[in-house]
Amino acid sequence: MTTSTAEVGKRPASAGRPERGAHAARGRKVPGWVPDLAWKLLRLVISIWAVLTLTFLMIQFIPGDPVRLALGPDAPASLVEERRHQLGLDQPLVAQYLDYWGRMLTGDFGDSLLSQQPVSLLVEARIANTATIVALSLLAISVVSILGGLLVGIATHRGRRPLLGTGFTLATGIAAALPDFLVAVGLVFLFAVTFTIFPVAGASSAASFVLPTLAITLGSAATMMRVVRSSTAVVLDQDYMLVARAKRLPSTRVYLRHGLPNLLTAALTLGGLQLGTVVTGTIVVENVFAIPGLGTALVQALTTRDYPVVQTIMVLLASAVLVLNLLIDVALGALDPRSKRQRG
């Protein structure tokens, strides 16, 4: 018999406070995870409502005249007023807010004030590039940080290989401190201009995504790697690891079967927090690499106060972060029931 994460999680719930919804589950025979998931979904809905409302208010209160900007300096005042009326921008704020909600709920993101094309078309044309960068970055961050952190953690456990430990701390410290923008510029200079290995900009081929992904991955992976290394040191000192080693199980089985699952709680928790960093990093990096994604569209729309575009992209990006965080939350709950009790 081995001691693993699942067994640790099997300790009686009475050791802590009762799980949310436990009483309801007893009375109505509702599975315990249902109220927990419902609570998480409610939190998600409230968060998305807050994001939508804040986005609406933020863009309203930034000074500027998007209609004049769109029509140009030559446009007569009457023409500006006509367009403003067409767009409903002459309506009271409350009416605009209700209209905004009405449109969002029906999936109508409106038309861009500048291009006058449906925002949905703009999103459709760009979302794949942004999703690709985010997905590749998350994958790279996960693989590099978990494997790297685990290996270095094992190699330097209990003060072994001090040079490697110091070098790791120094390198990850520097990598985590470098801003995405600076990393991106450095990568372009080295790998696209000096040695023309990857494209400078654009999203014309798979190779176009290598440098942007690297630029986003470096800092986040370094941060997470340090956490995984620390967690590895803690996990390796646990009794169940001692038992596993005492039973002379193969090293790979000891570390991957018994060590790794116990590391994932910390890695996933931090990974959830890194999601926001990855998404904001994507916005910056897309602009450096002139990638036609949601990040470049957002920056362009912000400078021109193209309300419908800004609102739609903000809502999409924020919702993506919130939904992914929910999934991580659910995964954490399944992986380690203790986290469910602690997180509420």
């Binding site: 930034i62 005249d65 900007l69 005042a77 094309q117 900009a201 002139a290």
Partner: protein, 455 residues
């Protein structure tokens, strides 16, 4: 219509024209065809004007090309003529029309479809469009000259906000031409790229005349102008590309009217004369070195748009120059949308460093002589009767020469009152590698693009 390097108008779809100030009769090229192969007739042109005239389309042609919607037109397909009649004289009509594109074929029938396709008479046809990102055009078979050596089969236009990224793309061979005004030029020319600078607009300073603003006082405006060494500011704001002081408020080339002679009316740089202008107006220097009058300090806001490269450094130089004559300028950068609202609607500024790309002096009428907001865009409340009279004369002139004389007089009136002062000409610096092309007004001429080596 098309425009030539010297600013005069040339034939386009119209091969002949007759214009008397209000009525223009255009004779169309009988061989002109659309990209879908259909003939471009006067009726096709009429569809474009119908669309522009319809208020529900809020066409930007109104105001920019045509003065208003009060025009009528008649298309005579049999005679091959299109007649446009304005409600009042407008001397800039012909050059203005060079900016109005004519949709033909399916695009003329359904202009809304032009968001993703093209339907025109030019040498390339739009294949795909990703707004604000990339536009791919393919060579139109059969278009005169398209079989010449070096004419590219495909032209890809990429929107790249960062000049450094554009420069990197040029160096890596991913693109052939880009507009690069800043410090990246050096490494591009070192790598064998060629560059050519075009005047595509101008940089000016505007003074707000609203009651209560410190710049409503003419002596203050004149003194602040005298404090500025405009050539030095020009060098900074154009990042060294066009270091000469500006002479026109509508400098974009090709200029419709050469009004450079009006620049003699700009108060010349002389810091001590600037102080004298202020002291003559009752201003006295306080212990802190700031001029005061009636208990009020000569302090104001100096704004600029953050979308104008070089403006931040120029504003610092200007604030320093103003400080030397006892004027305290607080530098205020504005995001482009905020800037346009202040300049055209709220008038919430004192002194604004502005960058325009207008080839027509008439573009500024709304700002400088029109009604105040909310009825117009004269947000700075400029009321210069000499300027307004000259503008009226220019607009109703029957010949272009007479119109230009009046436009020059109008510019002179602005400078004498220090309402708006030209600082610099605005550059568009094209850097080209492994290709050649000509531009007009800083924009590439499609027919002139040639690749020097296949890519």
């Amino acid at each position: 219509m098309t425009r030539k390097e010297d600013g005069s108008v040339g034939p386009g779809l119209a091969t002949k024209w007759d214009f008397d100030g209000t009525k223009a009769v255009f004779t169309l090229d009988p061989n002109a065809t659309c990209s879908d192969g259909s003939k471009i007739t006067p009726s096709v042109i009429a569809k474009n004007f119908t669309w522009v005239k319809d208020p529900k389309n809020t066409s930007t042609v109104i105001g920019a090309v045509l003065p208003n919607r009060d025009f009528t037109f008649v298309a005579d397909d049999a005679a091959g003529t299109f007649t446009l009649t304005l409600d009042s004289p407008f001397s800039n009509l012909l050059p203005s029309l060079s900016f109005m594109h004519q949709a033909c074929g399916a695009g003329g029938e359904n202009p809304a479809g032009l968001t993703t396709t093209s339907s025109g008479s030019g040498p390339f046809v739009l294949k795909t469009a990703t707004p604000n990102s990339e536009y791919v055009m393919t060579k139109r078979p059969g278009f005169p000259g398209n079989d010449a050596p070096g004419v590219p089969d495909q032209v890809v236009m990429k929107i790249v906000d960062s000049e450094s990224t554009a420069a990197n793309l040029l160096l890596s061979g991913a693109i052939n031409a880009a507009v690069v005004n800043g410090q990246d030029r050096a490494r591009l020319t070192a790598a064998g790229a060629t560059e050519k600078t075009y005047v595509s607009g101008g940089v000016v300073i505007s003074f707000n005349h609203q009651e209560g603003r410190i710049t409503a006082d003419k002596a203050v405006r004149v003194a602040l102008t005298q404090a500025l060494e405009r050539g030095a500011v020009a060098k900074v704001v154009t990042q060294g590309l066009l270091p000469e002081a500006g002479t026109s408020v509508s400098a974009a080339q090709p200029q419709i009217c050469d009004d450079a002679s009006a620049a003699s009316a700009i108060p010349a740089f002389d810091a001590s004369a600037a102080e004298s202008t202020l002291t003559g107006d009752g201003w006295t220097k306080g212990g802190d070195g700031i001029m005061t009058k009636g208990g009020k300090q000569l302090a104001f806001q100096l704004g600029y748009s953050t979308a104008t490269p070089g403006a931040a450094a120029a504003a610092e130089l200007m604030a320093d120059a103003f400080g030397k004559i006892g004027a305290k300028a607080t530098i205020s950068p504005f995001a482009q949308a905020d800037y346009t609202q202040r300049v055209f609607t709220t008038g919430d500024y004192d002194v604004m460093l502005q960058q325009f790309s207008n080839p027509f002096p008439s573009t500024l009428i709304g700002l400088l002589a029109g009604p105040f907001p909310p009825d117009g865009t004269n947000a700075g409340h400029v009321a210069n009767k000499t300027y307004a009279d000259a503008v009226a004369a220019a607009r109703t002139a029957s010949t272009q020469d007479a119109a230009c004389q009046s436009w020059t007089a109008a510019s002179k009136a602005l400078f004498e009152e220090a309402d708006m002062i030209p600082i610099a000409s605005w550059p568009t610096n094209w850097v080209v590698k492994n290709a050649v092309m000509d531009t007009l007004g800083g924009r590439p001429i499609a027919e002139s693009v040639r690749l020097l080596q296949p890519r």
